[in-house]
Symmetry: C2
C-alpha cells in the first residue's frame, strides 16, 4: 500500500478554522505535560545563512499524551519585508509516533502566530486578574492581532489601546478589533497610554538584544499582567525591577538565551516557568497588587500540541492535497 501524506498550504491551514479557544486549551494541556516532564523537546539547533540576524531553526518535540511528534523548520529573515516577503516562514512535519512515517506537511506561519498568542493567554490565565478588561498593545503586527484575539477569548475586554511607531499598523489593528471582535480599540500616539491604566499589556515588536527601553518605571500599574512577546526589548531596567513575578515558558530555554545568546541581561530572577504554573508546581498570581510578567520564547511543544488538531480537522473538512510518500 502506498503511504500518503497530507499537504496543507498557508491558505489551507487558515481555512481549517481551528478556533483560538481550542488552541489555548491544547497549548495549556501541553504546558501541563511539560510541567510533569512528559514532553521530549531537545534544544533547537539552527543555521544562519547570510549571517546577520537570519536564522532557520529545527524545533522537534514529542508529546506522548497527545500522540504527537514532529518538527517545525522555521526561518526568520529580518530583511524579507523589504522584499515583500514575510519575516517568518517555514513548514511543520507531523509524524505517526507508532511508525515514524510522516503524516502531514503544513505551512507553519499561521500556527506560529496563533500558538504564540495562545501561550501568552495561558500565562495570563495564571498571572492576570480574571476581571482584566483594559488591554494595551505595543506594536500591532501579526502578533498584535493574534494576541488581541487570544486575550479577548479568556478575558472580558472592554477597551483596548493600540500603539505602533507605524500609525497604519495601529489603525489596522483597531479596524480588526472593531470589525472582527466588536472591541473598542483606540489608537494612541503616546506609548504610555497603552501601558498605564491597562490590566493586560502586550509588547510585540522586533526582538532586540539591546532593549530600546520605551517603557519606564512607574508605567505598569499595580495588579497588571505584561506579556513580553519581544523579550525585554520594550523595558528599562527600572521598569523590569517593578515586576513581582517574572516568568517564562521554559526555564531551560530561557537560561540558554540569557547565558549563551545574550538576551534578558537586565531581567529579574525567574519565578516559575509556564509548565510549573500549569502543573501546579509553582503559584501564579496571589493577590490583586502584584505586577506579573511573562517572557515566553516559543516552544516546539506548542506547535506539536496544535498540529494534530489541524491535521484531524483538515481531513474531516477535506482540505489540503494528498500526496504519495
Amino acid at each position: 500500500m502506498t503511504q500518503k501524506l497530507l499537504y496543507l498550504s498557508q491558505k489551507n491551514v487558515a481555512a481549517v478554522g481551528l478556533p483560538m479557544v481550542e488552541i489555548i486549551d491544547v497549548v495549556e494541556k501541553g504546558f501541563g505535560e511539560m510541567g510533569q516532564k512528559q514532553v521530549e523537546m531537545p534544544p533547537k539547533p539552527g543555521v544562519h545563512p547570510g549571517g546577520g540576524d537570519n536564522f532557520i531553526h529545527a524545533m522537534p518535540a514529542y508529546i506522548p499524551a497527545m500522540n504527537s511528534v514532529g518538527v517545525k523548520w522555521v526561518s526568520g529573515y529580518p530583511d524579507n519585508p523589504k522584499k515583500e516577503l514575510p519575516y517568518i516562514n517555514g513548514l511543520l512535519i507531523l509524524n505517526n509516533p507508532e511508525t515514524g512515517l510522516p503524516l502531514a506537511v503544513m505551512d507553519c506561519a499561521w500556527i506560529t502566530a496563533m500558538r504564540t498568542a495562545a501561550a501568552s493567554a495561558v500565562s495570563a490565565k495564571y498571572l492576570a486578574r480574571p476581571e482584566s478588561s483594559v488591554m494595551g498593545i505595543l506594536a500591532c503586527g501579526v502578533q498584535g492581532h493574534t494576541h488581541l484575539e487570544a486575550m479577548n477569548t479568556l478575558f472580558p475586554l472592554k477597551k483596548v489601546y493600540a500603539f505602533d511607531t507605524i500609525l497604519e499598523q495601529a489603525k489596522a489593528l483597531a479596524d480588526y478589533g472593531r470589525d472582527t471582535l466588536g472591541l473598542a480599540v483606540e489608537v494612541v500616539s503616546d506609548p504610555q497610554k497603552a501601558v498605564t491604566g491597562c490590566d493586560i499589556v502586550v509588547t510585540s515588536g522586533p526582538i532586540l538584544k539591546k532593549p530600546h527601553e520605551t517603557i519606564r518605571s512607574g508605567w505598569v500599574d499595580e495588579g497588571a499582567f505584561v506579556s513580553c512577546v519581544d523579550f525585554d526589548s520594550f523595558f528599562s531596567r527600572n521598569a523590569l525591577n517593578q515586576a513581582d513575578k517574572w516568568t517564562t515558558d521554559n526555564l531551560a530555554q530561557y537560561t540558554h538565551y540569557r547565558d549563551k545568546v545574550g538576551f534578558f541581561q537586565n531581567c529579574p530572577k525567574v519565578h516559575a516557568d509556564l509548565g510549573e504554573l500549569v502543573a501546579g508546581l509553582k503559584k501564579g498570581r496571589q493577590n490583586d497588587q502584584e505586577r506579573t510578567f511573562a517572557a515566553n520564547l516559543g516552544l516546539a511543544m506548542e506547535d506539536m500540541a496544535v498540529a494534530p488538531l489541524i491535521y484531524t480537522l483538515a481531513k474531516e473538512k477535506n482540505i489540503g492535497t494528498w500526496l504519495p510518500l
Copy 2:
C-alpha cells in the same frame, strides 16, 4: 505573488535519476568544504517515540559554497519491517538561503541510501588501493546494494563476495550485481570469504552498541580498506586493533557517539576525519600494506550537498508536484 514549493515523492526522487558518480563528486566537494570549516552543521537533536531504538532526528546543514540549506527529518524504527514498512523514513526540506523560504520537500530514503554509499566511496578514494578489484559485502540490504554501485563507480571491480544471514538478501544482491552492473557476485555462507582476500570490505548490517564480533583478527588482509557502515558491530576488538588508520566522517560527531551515546568503545584512535582527508589536512593511505578503516556516521552535510542537484534536475525534467506555499 504566491510562492511555490516542489514536492518529490520517493518515486519522483528515484525517477530524477541522479547518477551515483555525480553524488560521489558532490559529496566529496561537501567534505572539502567541511574540512575547511565552511559548513554550518549543528548537532542533530532527536526524539524517541515509543522508546527502544526508535528515533526521529533533525539534521540541519548550510553549505554556503553550494548555496544549499535545509533539514532532513528522518526516522528509524527497527520494528517497521515486521509491519512491512521501511526501517528508514523521512522528508528533506530544501530552502532558499537568500530568503529562508522552502523550495522543495522530498522523500529522503533514496538520498539517504545513495549519499551514505557515496561517502564510503569518498573514504575509499583516499584510503583504498586504487587498483582494488575484489570486494566483500557483509549484510546485503539497501546499503549493500548502493555500496556495490558506489564502489563499482570508483574502482575496477572484478569479483564480489556477498554474505548475509538471510540467504535471499545475498542472492538478491548477486542478481542486482549481475543484471544491473554486470558484476560477478558470489554468495558465500562463510563470512570470512567476504573479508579475507578482499581489497574492499563493507559491513552494512544493523547497528549495535555491543558488537557481534563476527570478523576476527587476521581476516582483513594487509592493504585492504574496510567501510564499517554499521559502526563497529561486525568486529572483534583484536580485529580492530589491526587497523593502521581508523577514520570517520566527522570527528565531533564520532566523539559524541563514542563518549555520550556509547558506541565505538573498543575502537582505535581516530587518525583523521573525511573532511580533513579531502581538504588535504591529513594523509590518507601511504603504502600498499596499510589496513585502513572508515566508520562514517552520516552527516546532514551529505544530504544538503545532494538535495540541490535533485531539485534542479527534477525541475528540468518536469518531475514532481508544485504546491502553493
